[in-house]
Subunit: 89 residues, 14 copies
């Protein structure tokens, strides 16, 4: 295979894996946080406002790691410096 | 194999794996959240409205990671820039 | 192997794996949700209507991730753009 | 190996794996749901009708993911478009 | 290896793996269901009739996924369309 | 290797693996069921007859999945249609 | 390697693996059953006769899956039809 | 493949893997911390301020390990000294 | 490698693996049984005689699966029919 | 590949893996420590000062293992003695 | 490699693996038994003599599986019949 | 590849792996110890001095295993006797 | 590679693996025993002498399995009969 | 590769792996022992002297297995008899 094809293939596979692998654990983790929130509300309905507020901050933090992976994945597909360099050559 | 075929194969395999692997953990996670919601309702029926509302927000957050994977998968099948470049050449 | 055969093989294997791997966790997850629903009903029979309603919404959300995988699998078998392109050529 | 043989082999292996892997988790999941149903009946015999009804709906949902895999497997053995195309050629 | 041998080998290996892998989880699952049934009977002997009835329905559902795998396995050994096609040729 | 040897080797390995892998989980599962039965008898000695009866039915169901694997294994060793076909040729 | 050597090697490796892998889970399972029996006797010494009787029946069932594997292993070493066929030739 | 291509491919794959693998555990860990925070608030609503403060410090520490991986990943894509050296040559 | 060497190597490796893998789970299982026996004696010192008797019968059953593996291993080293056949030739 | 390229590739891959693998467990471990701190504060709000102080010392110790990995990773990218030696040659 | 070297290497590797793998589980198992013994003594100091006696019998049984592996390992290093045969030749 | 390059590559990869793998478990272990310390302080605030003192001694012991790995890693990068020997030659 | 080198390499790798793998589980197991001893002392301080005595006997038994692996490892490095034979030749 | 290089590479990789793998479990195990010690002190502050003394003896035993691995590792790097033999030649 020539250089261009090899880099294209590596980018495709890596982009897919980065998103799929990188989204696994944030998903698990958000499920855990949501489940804890629901149990906590059931246990202490009066604290629902502060619980949901803390939950949303936490979900945002967790989601950020999924975002990192999605960003790397998009960079590899649409703004890949190695691909740009090879194509430009 | 020529360049076109290699890229097509890499895209097909990656698209399939990205969706299937990326949907595993959101599914688990939603099951966990739903299970927690059901237990919470059984424990505190009066808090059912706020529990189901929090549940739906949480499910939407979790589903979003599955959506990322599905989106990457669709990009690889229907809007693959590397494939477009090779075909155009 | 020629291009056509390679793409056909990649599509067959990926379609099978996508469905089988992608259906594993939704199945587990639905089992978990159903089990939680049954325990909740046994614990609080009066809340059965809201529990089953929440359960069905949850099952629909979980099933959706299995549907994504099945859809990708069907696209790869019956509406594969790479195969169409190679055959057309 | 020629094209026909390769596609046949890929179809055979994928069909077998899709069914066997895809049936693992629904089986586990149904066992979990049945076990939960039995414990629930033992705990609350009066709610047996609604528990068994919810159980059967849940089992049908879980079985559906096993059915998807079996369907893909049957398509690959008896209605494989790639095989049809190669044979027709 | 010639085509016939390759297809025979793939069929043999896949048939064996499909049955052995596909029977693992139904076996685990049935054990879980039976164990739950026994505990439930010990806890609530009066509900034994409905528990054993629900158990048998559940075992039938779980066994069905093992049957799918056994059926695919038998198809691959005794009614393999690819083998038939190659032999006929 | 010639065709006959390849098929013989594949049959030997598959037969061994099918039995050994396929017997793992039924064994675990029967142990679980027996353990549950023993605990149940210790907890409710009066229900021993119905517990042992349910246990034996359950063990028979579980053993059946091990039997499937043993049958496939015996077919591959002593009634292998592919081997018969090659030898006949 | 010639045919005879290949089949001999496959038989040796498969025989060893079948016994060692196939004996793992029955061993675990018997340990579980024995442990449950001991706890049950400690909890309900009066039920010792029926507990040990049920234990022995259960151990026999579990041992049977180990026996299947040992039998397949012995067949492969001392009564291997493929080896007999090749040697006879 | 020439040197430039090899280094480009290694950088792409490593960058993707570093981010995706390195973000898995921080995500899990943040989910655990958030879940513990929510349970703690439900248990002791009066301590909510100190709990959320400790939570945020902890999340920052955990996030830092994800940041290390993201930084290494960005260095490999946009400031790779080996790539610079090869290109300069 | 010639036939004799190949069979010798396969026998050596298989003999070692069969014993080491096959002794893993019986060891675990005996530890479990002994641990259960010790707890049971501590809980019910009066039942020590019947507990130790049941323990020894159980240990003998569990040890038997390790013996199977050791026997197969010794057969492969000292009474290997395939080696005998090759040497005789 | 020439020496320079090989060493560059090995350094890139190792640097990425060292950081990503080496940051996994510290992240998990910090999450565990933070979760324990939060539960402890909820249980004993009066001991919050000493708990947070012990937590921060502990987090620093745990973070140190992640730092080791990050340092090795940076050495491999920016101060690699083997690369320096090859380049100097 | 010539026959002698191959057999020597296979013996070395197998001897090492057999001992190391085969000693893993007995070690775990003895730890479990010792831990159970210590807890039992703490719970029932009066039964210490019978507990330690049962413990030592159990440890001997568990150690026996490690001994099997060590024996096979020593046979392979110092009394290997295949090596003897090749050397004699 | 020539000798120098091979040794350099082996040293780089091994150094990275040794640090990253060797730091995983000490990190987990320190997290466990810190978590236990925090729970213990919350349970018995009066014993805080002796608990933190024992904790720090324990952390030092655990950190020592991570130090061993870091030391081996540094030896391989900066004081590798094999590399010195080859370079000197 | 010539015979001497091959045997040297196999001995080096096996010696390292035997010690490292073989020391894993005894370490875990001793930790478990020590932890159980500490809990037992805390629960029953009066029984400390007999607990520590039983602990030391148990630790010696567990350490013995690590010693077996270390011995095999030392034999392979310093008293390897195969190496001696090849060198003598 | 020549003999010297091969042995050097095998020694480097094995030394690294032996230390890193061999230090994993002692680290875990020490963490477990320390955690148990801390809980025990919190539960029974009066027994702190004997608990810490038993802890240090236990840690020394556990550390010894890590020392074995470190020693083997150092022997392979600085006192490798095979390397000495090859270099001397």
């Amino acid at each position: 295979m020539d250089s261009m094809t090899s880099i294209a293939i590596a980018s495709i596979i890596t982009a897919g894996l980065t998103t799929s692998v990188g989204c696994m654990m944030p998903a698990i983790s958000e499920g855990k946080a949501v489940a804890a929130a629901l149990s906590s509300i059931a246990q202490q309905p009066d604290a629902a406002p502060i619980i949901t507020r803390t939950l949303f901050v936490g979900l945002a933090m967790i989601e950020s790691t999924a975002i990192y992976c999605f960003v790397v994945s998009m960079i590899l597909i649409f703004a890949n410096p190695f691909w740009t360099h090879i194509v430009a050559k």
